[in-house]
Amino acid sequence: MKFAVLSCIHGNLAALEAVLADAQAQKADRIYCLGDLVGYGPYPNEVVERIRTLEIQTCRGCWDDDTVEGVNACECSYPSVLAEQRGLAAHLWSNREVSDQARAFLAGLPYSLREGNLCFVHGSPYSAHEYLLPETDAFVAVERVLSTGADVLFCGHTHVPYVRTLDATPVEITVRGPASASGEVRQFSASLKRIVNAGSVGEPRHGRPNATYVLYDTERVEVDLREVEYDWRSTCAAIVEKGLPAIFAWRLARGLEFAERAEDPTHVCTR
């Protein structure tokens, strides 16, 4: 089986269409989506409708979460005062624009999906807002994969695609509890695990405006990081026409995310 895994579409319909066409050309048997259908981009309702009508298995992203529940993060979620103001402006715009029907669809999305030994989440198994970066501490990374019971964890949220192989290594943990206050040391060996980040369809952050997604071949256990060209100029024009901050168009054209991740990417606001 060949799966196409895409993430972080962010209302960029042109990018989504290009990725869907590429996935079809690559003969993908099934498509999984890791969320963030809305936010920043000009076509949130159209993207939701396309995903819904194609019945693409989708989990809920942080932007989908905030669109349904309302923004519930303090300034710690943003790397700068400027990014915070831009993020909030985008949320305000999305709240006005997203239809009730689209909102209801987003509200029904699960936080994770399973397919055999594969798990699909937006940020991490613990939160759609947590970033799993290539440089995330190896123990944390292994723990996140182990917590799912899967061998391969697909995630998005960082907007930069990568594959991280966590070699089989002995793990030593200390368990403290009422029965063993001094701490009981346990050792076990974690089998080979992988984290595959699908990048971003609609808001790339790899220095080019092209969409990224991944193809995963379950028989060959192979990952193909795909970069797809599309008419990003039309999306940039729509950003301006629809009243989103024009700087989003400028940043999209250069493959710069609109409001970068928090300074501490593992920090998850629990307010």
């Binding site: 700068s80 400027l82 103001q85 831009r86 400028w250 300074e263």
Partner: protein, 252 residues
């Protein structure tokens, strides 16, 4: 050039007029006098020179550049001034006219005005020159936001910026001098030798000047405003610094 000289310096933005003046000033133990007509409300270069030459006499003499004797007197003339009239009123004085020009410039056209021509940085030409200035005195800028704004500004997000300079008060109390010249390798930010401001809003000059073309002045002003800290955030940062300093004292 003697200490009674009056030196008028001109050249395109970013070519190095102030740098040339700084080099000259450094040769005078007592310092000198500096003025730049038309920049009184956004005196970026003057502020930087004062910081660069602490204790030396580097003074802006009102708006009229009235000379004093015994000190070299530098007048920096911006591109926006008409050179034919810029020296008016200085006839009969010991005036030296210096043009700082980019390399490969036909110096002959400058010699119609200048007594001396110095070669500066290879700055880009601008067809429709536009100058945007904003004083930000009292504002403190979030440094991470400043980095993003600077990247966008110098990358052309708000129009073609050819020369940018500014003094920014940032959240850790420093005053930074920011500088950009298109096509020229310059240090982006350097800290000015000024006391760190850790209590309330700074009561000293800060501001920015952008030279280029097709500048979106409204977007520039709005983005810069979005980079500024509100009272609550500023108080929070300054308290953090005070706590850290108190902690460091206890450890010592």
């Amino acid at each position: 050039m003697n200490s009674n000289s009056i030196v008028a310096v001109t050249g395109p933005p970013g070519v190095g007029k102030t740098t040339w003046i700084r080099q000259q000033l450094s040769r005078y133990e007592k310092g000198g006098i500096y003025c730049s007509p038309g920049t009184e409300s956004v005196p970026i270069d003057w502020t930087r020179l004062v910081a660069d030459f602490p204790g030396k006499l580097v003074r802006l003499v009102g708006n009229s550049c009235v000379g004093e004797t015994g000190f070299p007197f530098f007048i920096e003339l911006g591109y926006h001034l008409n050179l034919s009239s810029a020296g008016a009123g200085l006839e009969g004085l010991n005036l030296l006219r210096v043009a700082v020009v980019p390399p490969q410039t036909d110096a002959s056209e400058w010699y119609t005005w200048a007594d001396e021509v110095a070669v500066g940085a290879p700055v880009e030409r601008v067809e429709r020159p536009q100058l945007w200035r904003a004083a930000t005195t009292g504002e403190v800028i979030d440094i991470e936001s400043l980095d993003v704004f600077w990247e966008e500004l110098t990358g052309g997000a708000y129009g073609r910026a050819v020369r940018v300079k500014g003094i920014f008060e940032v959240s850790d109390g420093r005053a930074l001098f920011g500088e950009f010249v298109a096509g020229v390798d310059v240090e982006q930010f350097t800290e000015l030798s000024l006391p760190r401001w850790w209590s309330g809003r700074p009561r000293r000059f800060s501001g920015i000047e952008v030279f280029g073309e097709d500048l979106d002045e409204a977007a520039l002003g709005e983005t810069l405003r979005q980079c500024c800290l509100n009272d609550q955030a500023l108080a929070h940062y300054q308290q953090q610094i005070k706590d850290q300093l108190a902690e460091a004292e206890v450890i010592l």
